[in-house]
């Protein structure tokens, strides 16, 4: 089937989509946007988090066809040209990135958290990011990055 949707502000038409494909698969394998990650493909790890009409979702749990006519923003769509988003900058500067496989999902989830709550407490950060698994960092530097990004937006 064909789906039409807006991805990172650009209208896209995607052909030959099989009905069983997830939005994650379509983004990664059909639209050249592999930034959203395939760590569990069952909605447990958050690595594939994207915005769908402004709400964060696990794109592995959304059928590609469900994105028909809708707006998707991925990790590739957060920087302003060459200029990184403050959340991205904070993750680099605070050492919140090791292998980085969880990073795209955490960037999107943190972006969403700070949009909703610009100055979250530590328990609020922890609750908001509880759906994003990271295996490398032990999360301490991720907390540092979120606090730092919130501070930089002050």
């Amino acid at each position: 089937m064909r789906i039409e949707l807006t991805v990172n502000g650009t209208r896209r038409e995607v052909d030959d989509v099989w009905e069983g494909e997830s939005l994650l698969y379509a983004l990664r394998e059909r639209m050249g946007l592999p930034g959203s990650k395939n760590a569990c493909e069952q909605g447990e790890c958050g690595s594939c988090t994207v915005y769908l009409d402004g709400l964060p979702v696990c794109s592995c749990l959304v059928a590609a066809g469900q994105a028909q006519g809708r707006e998707v923003t991925t990790v590739e769509g957060l920087a302003d040209g060459e200029e990184l988003h403050p959340v991205q900058q904070a993750f680099i500067e605070r050492g919140a990135v090791q292998c980085g496989f969880c990073t795209p999902g955490l960037i999107v989830s943190t972006h969403d958290l700070l949009e909703r709550n610009p100055h979250p407490s530590d328990p609020e950060i922890r609750e908001a990011l509880a759906g994003n698994l990271c295996r490398c960092t032990g999360y301490e530097k991720i907390l540092d990055a979120v606090r730092s990004a919130a501070e930089s937006k002050r």
Partner: protein
């Protein structure tokens, strides 16, 4: 075609600084090319058909129905393997594709390539494999019984190691003993096993893959394909974590076989479920320990009997037994020792390397017993460790001289003296309580406990292994500025080796711009990204290659300047004298042709231990760490919240202090996970929880804040004084958490992960 990561350059930072990762921007923008992101216009997808049985004879395989599926381009079985159908890190005991028999649930039996992954999966289901089930060894404690079924023809023992030291029949006034059991942990790296095999015009193949050791993979792939190494070229694709789980082959050979058959690039990328079947796990272990001590708590003797379940294939079980045996009594001074460690075959999932490698399991036992001893003799649990802790100048239980810092007493006292977390407030945030947002308690039934643990771990490969790394360093002038290029095959898996390589080159060559060449097999082996060894060994190789380049440049400059080479130095991209006066620009000396040197570098040799006494200099270096855990336990529901997990570790020299802290934080989380929640549940040889829904790893809600103190007692035998960092935190954190739960509940808790029912006793 997108393939591997680009060469990475970055900014400032020398040894001892914490420059930012050169791949950071790519990783936060989603542009970093992981193995599962690889793509080629003409590629097809490969999938694996795996055994549903723990042990069965393959009576027949009919692939006709699968081949008939439109879009399918190849279906392969063992009959299609052109070379030797045998792989393995220590023993070539594992077929690339099962031939006549399957020995574990999940063993690869057949491969399919098709134009869509779903087409390939559906076709694989149409392969008809007729099995005749065989009796299986599913309890490794009976693997060596007379009547146990044989997993392999030569018997079910992979390795036995024994240590005998001092009095063969010692006695002591105080004796404590316990049995302990450790469940099967998974590395649970987030980036699934993936890669892209691309047939080349020369009849060879290029494999882009996420791995820990390109050259050991290359050797194994060559053997199965029946091709020489110059035609099997491996390239490191972006690695989404490893932790030991990428030491063995996964899809490497399979993708190459399909690519050779179809003539097309083949991508394979496991699902999370397949990943649980597609790599080895941490060995489950059964441990029986006995300590004898004087009335004051001074250890007189220790006995240990350790059994590791190796599963169906050996993988690195032999080396894990070696670590369990030589290091399994912990960092203590023990004059009389009797240790037996065994690894056995079974029809359970194969087990091999995971961070901490044989020491993790043992530490749960020796630390629980050390607490028991402290209580028995009536001294403090910290002080008994300080009393018995190893010191520099001691011999360990294999008779090896500890010839650099061994600050056991200092580390355990540091964590004890760190401030404790505040008492739980009267009206606590439920997110900081056991059960968290499940809202299971507001503090009622919650008891706090504190626990301690200390460990030591070998760094680098041991027992006489020829452990080396190769570095090629080149100095060029580009646009008038000197640029160093570092080329090693040592795998960056997230830990930050590429940053360290740049820091060393900047330090040794006095240049700012350092390019890290993509990792591949066109340079010599870097050895494995394992055993906390890369900063030490590949760092040593890069340092040595830089020194060789520097010597060559200085020699050239000495000739040009008519000066004694001993008076010349490299600094700030210039040739300077001892006073810092600039004598020439590097560009003038290096010229158009550049200077390049390749060095193969080795650490001090180790030796095999004596097979009867277990004595010998088995290891290169030892690394020490201590943890203190503070937990709140809901004793009615059996739920645990770790409130604090504080640690101290000697790292010799922190090449990159921020990255060191990152290793300690991440490693501690994995140890905590094993104590509390992480277990692959295997019953009757079958994995019951192959998903992140049912195999739990710590989330950001589970991890407490950590206080970390890093000591830097330089090891005089190591480059810059470094000591391996990555593994000790995974070893001492879990036992500290278990001890804290025991302290809170008063229960013995002789098994990890600790489950709610162990706490409640229901």
């Amino acid at each position: 075609m997108t393939t591997t990561t680009e060469a990475t350059t970055a900014s400032h930072g020398r040894v001892g600084d914490s420059p930012l990762r050169p791949d950071g921007t790519l990783k936060v923008t989603g542009e970093f090319a992981y193995a599962s992101d690889l793509w080629h216009d003409d590629m097809v997808w490969g999938v694996t058909l795996r055994s549903p049985h723990p042990h069965a004879r393959i009576v027949g395989i009919d692939i006709a129905a699968a081949l008939a599926v439109p879009g399918v381009s190849a279906v392969l079985t063992a009959a299609d393997v052109p070379g030797a159908n045998a792989v393995g890190l220590e023993h070539l005991d594992q077929p690339a594709l099962a031939d006549g028999v399957v020995r574990y649930q999940g063993e690869p039996v057949a491969l399919v390539a098709a134009d869509h992954p779903e087409t390939a999966r559906r076709a694989a289901k149409r392969i008809v494999v007729e099995y005749e089930e065989l009796p299986a060894v599913t309890d490794p404690r009976h693997a060596l019984d007379e009547d146990a079924p044989l997993v392999h023809a030569n018997g079910n023992l992979v390795r036995k190691m024994q240590i005998r030291r001092g009095d063969a029949d010692p006695t002591a006034p105080v004796v404590v003993a316990l049995d302990f059991e450790v469940g099967m942990q998974d590395q649970a790296f987030l980036g699934p096993e993936s890669g892209l095999a691309v047939p080349a015009e020369d009849g060879g193949i290029d494999l882009y893959v996420a791995t820990q050791w390109l050259h050991v993979d290359q050797t194994q792939v060559c053997r199965v394909l029946g091709m020489p190494p110059e035609r099997v070229r491996l390239h490191l694709a972006g690695v989404g974590g490893a932790f030991g789980g990428r030491e063995d082959l996964s899809m490497h050979v399979h993708a190459c076989l399909l690519a050779m058959r179809t003539g097309k690039p083949v991508k394979m990328s496991y699902s999370r479920e397949e990943s649980f079947f597609g790599h080895v796990h941490r060995h489950p272990a059964w441990l029986r320990y006995e300590f004898g001590a004087e009335e004051d708590g001074t250890l007189v003797y220790a006995k240990a009997d350790i059994l590791f379940d190796g599963g169906a294939y050996a993988s690195s079980t032999g080396a894990v037994v070696g670590n369990g045996g030589t290091l399994g009594l912990g960092p203590y001074r023990i004059p009389n020792v009797h240790v037996d460690a065994r690894g056995v075959y079974s029809n359970n999932p194969p087990c091999g390397a995971m961070r901490g490698f044989g020491c993790v399991q043992a530490a749960f036992a020796h630390e629980a017993l050390m607490d028991e001893l402290a209580d028995q003799v009536g001294i403090d649990r910290v002080e008994i460790r300080a009393l018995n802790g190893m010191r520099e100048g001691d011999e360990n239980i294999t008779g090896q001289l500890i010839d650099s810092a061994a600050p056991v007493a200092e580390l355990i006292r540091i964590v004890r003296d760190m401030p404790l977390p505040a008492e739980r407030p009267a009206d606590p945030d439920i997110r900081e309580l056991p059960g968290g947002v499940s809202n299971t308690t507001h503090g009622e039934g919650v008891v706090r406990g504190v626990g301690y643990a200390v460990t030591y771990k070998n760094v680098g490969f041991s027992e006489g292994f020829d452990d080396y790394s190769t570095a090629r360093v080149r100095l060029d002038v580009t646009g008038g500025e000197p640029v160093a290029t570092v080329h090693t095959a040592a795998a960056e898996v997230g830990q930050g080796l590429i940053t360290v390589e740049q820091q060393i080159a900047r330090t040794e060559l006095g240049v700012e711009a350092v390019v890290v060449h993509p990792k591949d097999t066109s340079v010599g082996s870097g050895g494995s990204t394992s055993a906390s060894r890369q900063t030490y060994v590949t760092g040593g190789a890069v340092k040595a290659a830089c020194e060789a380049v520097r010597d060559a440049v200085v020699a050239r400059a000495a000739g040009m300047l008519q000066r004694d080479a001993a008076d010349l130095h490299l600094s700030g991209g210039k040739i300077v004298d001892a006073t810092g006066e600039v004598l020439a620009g590097l560009a003038d000396v290096v010229g158009d042709e550049g200077v390049e040197e390749t060095v193969e570098w080795r650490h001090r040799p180790t030796e095999a231990i004596d097979p009867v006494t277990g004595q010998g200099n088995a290891h290169v270096q030892y690394a020490f760490s201590a943890h203190r855990a503070v937990v709140d336990v809901d004793v009615e529901l059996g739920l645990v919240k770790v409130v604090a997990l504080d640690t101290a570790q000697d790292v010799g020299k922190a090449i990159n202090p921020d990255a060191v802290v990152g290793q300690i934080q991440g490693g501690s989380a994995q140890g905590m996970g094993l104590a509390l929640m992480e277990e692959i549940v295997v019953t009757d040889g079958k994995i019951r929880n192959p998903s992140f829904t049912d195999y739990l790893i710590p989330t950001i809600l589970d991890m407490p804040p950590m206080k970390i103190e890093v000591l830097e007692y330089a090891d005089p035998h190591a480059p810059y004084g470094v000591r391996g960092v990555g593994e000790p935190p995974t070893i001492s954190s879990g036992p500290a958490v278990a001890a804290a739960i025991r302290a809170a509940t008063g229960r013995a808790l002789r098994r990890v992960p600790v489950r709610p029912e162990h706490i409640t006793g229901v």
